[in-house]
């Protein structure tokens, strides 16, 4: 069997974070979580090649999701990026500008995100 897909999930809302963690874990993913962009960046700086996909909230303290996406796009180009936002259009537009692969608006159906993740990673396999 192939290695499990490795996700980095970032949200400053602990409830959302643990819900996502439980869900993706039960779906067979390997999941790490971070409470803001800064915590996520530190995880990435430790082992950048470890992750396959980043799922991040946008409005967060320290380093925002938009900031994290911009850094990842520059420094960790292999990562697929899904942005999620509950703050109306503006952060979402900034995330698209920062070239997130997909931008989703909260509330988000977990199965839909899971679908998006596997689609994104499959298309990556196709390209390689």
């Amino acid at each position: 069997m192939a290695d499990p897909i490795k996700l980095l999930i970032v949200d400053d809302n602990e409830d959302i974070l643990s819900t996502f963690y439980e869900f993706f874990n039960s779906m067979g993913y390997e999941v790490k979580t971070a409470v803001d962009g800064f915590a996520a960046l530190k995880l990435l700086r430790e082992k950048s090649s470890f992750f396959d996909c980043l799922i991040t909230d946008l409005v967060m303290p320290n380093i925002s999701g938009v900031g994290l996406i911009s850094i990842v796009k520059k420094e960790y180009t292999h990562l697929k990026i899904i942005a999620m936002t509950g703050y109306g259009d503006q952060p979402g537009a900034l995330a698209s500008e920062a070239e997130a692969d997909v931008v989703l608006f909260k509330p988000i159906d977990l199965f839909k995100i899971e679908n998006t993740v596997s689609e994104l990673l499959n298309s990556k396999d196709d390209n390689e």
Binding site: L41, K42, V59, N62, S64, G67, S70, I71, Q90
Partner: protein
């Protein structure tokens, strides 16, 4: 010379780490915090840790200039762009090219200039006043404010889209009273700095008791106020004088400190948890240390209401007067009271312009 970011508190250590991680990303930064907490020091640290440190650090204070002047300072102008523009002049965006543009007090930028700023940040292009040509800019924008911008957005004095564009990296510096551990190292640093500037002076370091008082004072003016005290001590050579002169009438300071430091008592009971606690607030208006019988006699909602509203009114009036350079008729308009009422209240609350 740039000031090092002194501090050992968790929040300052985290800020230092954050600076280190983002100094080369060139992502827009928004620094927030009360007056004197060190927003400019943080901006300078970002710059000096970045690869742009060999280029310019250009600062512009968005609160200090009237609208039209601010616009021409930012973007520059062509000869003849307006009356008095005898020759062309580059703006800050141009001077800061490849370096850092520090937009200080961004929360005070007039709303009419915010859309142009947004456009420049979005497109990376600007045109000087009176010119049709768009110039590319490569500046790292770091902005700072002591306003709560979320609140400004609600009051429609700040554009939401500009806020999100600036808020990519957010550095919040807590007030000094929430990171008391930083006080001793700051004192040490500034003591040494001033001592080397004035080696002849007789200033001394605070002893343990004085240090305790200094650590528990709420520092409404934050590091700037602390720094001024240390400088003054070098001249006055007396810590007790400095402590006596600390403003005590600040709403954030509980009555205990206000009275006890005034009487210079030797046993100062300092309650570090005063900030939001109920008794802390109440004790500003009634003496809670007496027996409950006497206390219940003293407590009268009407009386306390008057004391509390006077206290707040005095602060607001002083605040507005300071903002408008003690122009009373402007202040009365802003406060939406008559000129006469303002004068009356100024006498009642003993609000005087600085000499």
């Amino acid at each position: 010379m740039t000031t090092p970011l002194i501090g050992v508190s968790k929040s300052i250590l985290k800020i230092k780490e954050l600076i280190h991680h983002v100094a080369n990303t060139c992502l827009n930064v928004l620094i927030t915090g009360e007056t004197g907490v060190g927003k400019e020091v943080v901006a300078q640290s970002l710059y000096s840790e970045s690869a742009r440190s060999s280029k310019n650090f250009v600062k512009i204070n968005c609160a200090a200039l009237p609208e039209t002047l601010l616009e021409s300072e930012l973007y520059g102008y062509e000869k003849g762009a307006f009356t008095g523009a005898h020759r062309k002049r580059p703006g800050k965006f141009q001077t800061a090219d490849k370096g850092v543009l520090f937009l200080d007090e961004i929360g005070d930028m007039p709303i009419s200039l915010q859309s142009k700023m947004l456009h420049v940040l979005q497109s990376g292009e600007f045109s000087p006043l009176g010119s049709d040509t768009e110039f590319k800019t490569d500046v790292w924008v770091i902005a700072a404010t002591n306003h709560n911008l979320e609140e400004s957005i609600r009051n429609k004095t700040f554009r939401e889209d500009l806020f999100y564009r600036l808020n990519i990296i957010k550095i919040e510096i807590p007030p000094l009273r929430e990171r008391k551990e930083d006080i001793p190292p700051l004192i040490e640093y500034y003591y040494r700095t001033y001592k080397s500037e004035y080696p002849e002076s007789g200033g001394t370091k605070p002893d343990a008791h004085t240090l305790e008082i200094l650590c528990n004072y709420p520092w409404p003016g934050n590091v700037r106020q602390l720094q001024n005290c240390i400088k003054k001590q070098i001249v006055l050579r007396s810590w007790s004088k400095i402590i006596d002169e600390l403003p005590k009438e600040h709403p954030m300071i509980p009555a205990e400190i206000q009275t006890e430091t005034n009487t210079n008592s030797n046993q100062i009971q300092i309650n570090p948890e005063f900030a939001n606690d109920r008794t802390g607030i109440i004790s500003q208006f009634v003496d809670l240390s007496t027996s409950s019988e006497k206390l219940f006699e003293d407590i009268s909602l009407k009386k306390i209401k008057k004391l509390a509203s006077d206290r707040v009114e005095k602060e607001v009036i002083t605040f507005v007067l300071e903002k408008v350079g003690w122009n009373r008729s402007r202040a009365s308009k802003i406060l939406k009271i008559s000129y006469k009422t303002l004068l009356y209240k100024m006498t009642e609350f003993k609000v005087h312009p600085p000499i």
